[in-house]
């Protein structure tokens, strides 16, 4: 069975921006077999390095797209680029959407590459994640764990 890579993206000190990393940490605690889990801050070239050579990747990040907070969206980025504007917040402006496109351009995009986005509400420095995002983190952890078990 090929190893799946889960990458949790975000800044743990900025409220809902922590969503992706919380998902990664929770999955890590579950010790799902055949899964590697990494966390990163969302800087594009760091994501790119993590993607390099991976066969099956799940990236989890916070988004700001105007959807209700806590909404979970799935994007198959092998088929189409991410809607860029929604992901700016989780990074330094050179983040996940750029990493995916850079990987595509350089031919290093993994053959299976799924992005899960949790819509955030508040990104204040030092704040805890919102209740909506905490609920969504629970749901997404269960969903990914289920997919990995299949």
């Amino acid at each position: 069975m090929p190893q799946a890579l889960i990458i949790g993206i975000g800044n743990p000190d900025r409220g809902d921006d922590a969503a992706g990393r919380l998902v990664a940490q929770r999955l890590s605690a579950m010790a799902v077999p055949h899964v590697t889990i990494r966390e990163t801050d969302g800087e594009a070239t760091r994501i790119l390095e993590l993607l390099d050579g991976a066969a099956k990747v799940f990236l989890v990040d916070a988004s700001v797209s105007g959807a209700p907070p806590g909404t979970i969206k799935m994007f198959d980025v092998v088929r189409a680029p991410l809607p860029e504007a929604a992901f700016g917040l989780s990074t330094h402006g050179f983040g996940l959407a750029e990493a995916v496109e850079l990987a595509r351009t350089l031919g290093t995009l993994p053959p299976e590459c799924i992005v899960y986005a949790i819509e955030g509400k508040a990104f204040e420095t030092g704040a805890a994640p919102s209740a909506e995002v905490a609920t969504a983190v629970d749901a997404l952890v269960a969903r990914i764990a289920g997919e990995l078990a299949d």
Binding site: N11, D13, T40, D41, E43, A44, T45, R46, L48, E49, G88, L89, T91, H92, G93, F94, E98, E101, L102, T105, L106, E124, T125, G126
Partner: protein
């Protein structure tokens, strides 16, 4: 967009390729630049407040979280300040390892900025991805170099993004000499590639603009400055970090909730690669000095657009210095030196990739932090960024709007502004009367 009164406002939605968030407004009246204002939406001094009441020993880990791009600089300024309070000096191989960690950070930060964020400005691309389509080899080169810097960070810092191995007095754990050998081999290979990076950026077209800057950087008698030295300038300043507040002051400007630093006489100043290069050229390694000459850099540079070449030269230097440190490395007897915790005020000034980073702490007798003051390089460069726009944009007003916006962005990016310590995007607005 022109309204009924004839006032023209142009907005760039997002200036994403800086590390952080902010907005720039240029006000033009009668075809003259009247004002340039940088607004940074910084959560007001969150980390300084967070540090108060915490143990001195927590400062390296807390301050490292301020910036994902330059955590080492924050850690180092904080540990130096604490060591300054306790009267402890970290020397020999422990000091060298700190420099090695610095090399990793400079490489990562400089390469990310110059290749992925700034180079597209010079080559006429909207961003790194568009550039990668036409320049895949150069982008791959940059990624390889950045990865090498990352390896140093992981190896010495214990973790790639927010190193956890740094503590007051030294490190928690030091590397074995034999474990460093394979890293060194990879760094030697990467060093050659860094030479190619210098060559690449040296061929860009540089807008012909210069200003009489006050350059401010650290200076150490024996080495290119990373984490130690007096604060000096090209106008005769030469002070220990403890005198910083006697010569520089931070103030609030009405349009930004971040603080802006000036010299006490009100002048702006520039810190970062250009200042370091101009004030410490002789301290660069021979390889870096030669590369600078071949790249056409003079002994003194006043054109801020050439900072991209200086960043590449400093990247080459960082590889050179890393190889030198590893070659000379002997495992120290202990991973840290002992010290006695006591009350006092301590100062630390180090060279973050984007410039001088000053920390001041007041500690209680048990080592609890009573006061913390952090002056990041971007707040020191803010006034200079504004003045660059003031003096350069005037010559560009006849350019097509979109090109003018790009030039403004390129000008701001000369400083590699790290606003990520705060937030995310920089908006640019040109308001023409």
């Amino acid at each position: 967009m022109t309204d009924k009164s004839g006032k023209k406002t142009i907005k760039v939605d997002l200036l994403a390729r800086v590390e952080g968030e902010g907005a720039f407004k240029v006000v033009v009246r009668n075809n003259k630049v009247e004002r340039a204002e940088l607004r940074i939406f910084e959560p007001p001094r969150f980390f300084e407040a967070m540090l108060r009441g915490r143990a001195y020993s927590e400062a390296p880990d807390i301050t490292a979280r301020i910036c994902g791009i330059c955590p080492v600089a924050y850690q180092m300024s904080s540990v130096h300040a604490m060591e300054n309070v306790f009267g402890v000096k970290v020397e020999g191989q422990l000091r060298a390892l700190r420099r090695l960690l610095y090399c990793g950070e400079w490489i990562e930060s400089h390469v990310l900025h110059l290749a992925m964020l700034h180079a597209p400005d010079f080559l006429g691309y909207a961003g790194g991805i568009e550039m990668a389509k036409d320049h895949p080899a150069e982008v791959q080169l940059a990624l390889d170099l950045k990865k090498a810097g990352n390896e140093i960070m992981t190896f010495v810092g214990g973790r790639e993004i927010h190193p956890i191995n740094v503590r007051v007095g030294g490190f928690y754990k030091v590397p074995r000499k034999r474990d460093l050998a394979p890293l060194c081999e990879r760094l030697v290979v990467a060093r050659d590639k860094a030479g190619a990076l210098v060559e690449w950026v040296s061929k860009f077209d540089f807008p012909d603009h210069e200003r009489d800057y006050v350059f401010v950087a650290l200076r150490h008698p024996d080495e290119y400055p990373f984490n130690e030295g007096n604060i000096i300038s090209n106008t005769g300043l030469d002070i220990p970090p403890s005198d910083y507040a006697r010569h520089f002051a931070e103030s609030h400007v009405p349009y930004s909730n971040a603080l802006q630093a000036h010299m006490l006489d009100g002048r702006s100043y520039l810190c970062g690669p250009l200042a370091r290069y101009n004030l410490n050229f002789e301290q660069l390694s021979e390889r870096a000095r030669d590369a600078a000459k071949t790249a056409g850099l003079g002994r003194e540079i006043r054109n801020p657009y050439r900072s991209i070449v200086v960043r590449a030269v400093e990247t080459l230097y960082a590889f050179d210095e890393a190889v030198r440190i590893i070659d000379a490395y002997e495992e120290p007897e202990a991973p840290h030196v002992d010290y006695e915790v006591k009350a006092g005020i301590g100062f630390g000034a180090t060279e973050a990739p984007r410039g001088l980073l000053y920390h001041r702490y007041r500690l209680e007798a048990d080592g609890t932090i009573a006061e913390a003051n952090i002056v990041p390089p971007t707040s020191q460069n803010q006034a200079s960024m504004e003045e660059d726009l003031m003096s350069f944009v005037g010559d560009m007003l006849d350019l097509p709007e979109i090109e003018l916006q790009h030039r403004c962005e390129q000008t701001i990016r000369n400083y590699d502004p790290c606003i990520s310590c705060a937030t995310h995007f920089l908006k640019l607005e040109i308001d023409r009367g």
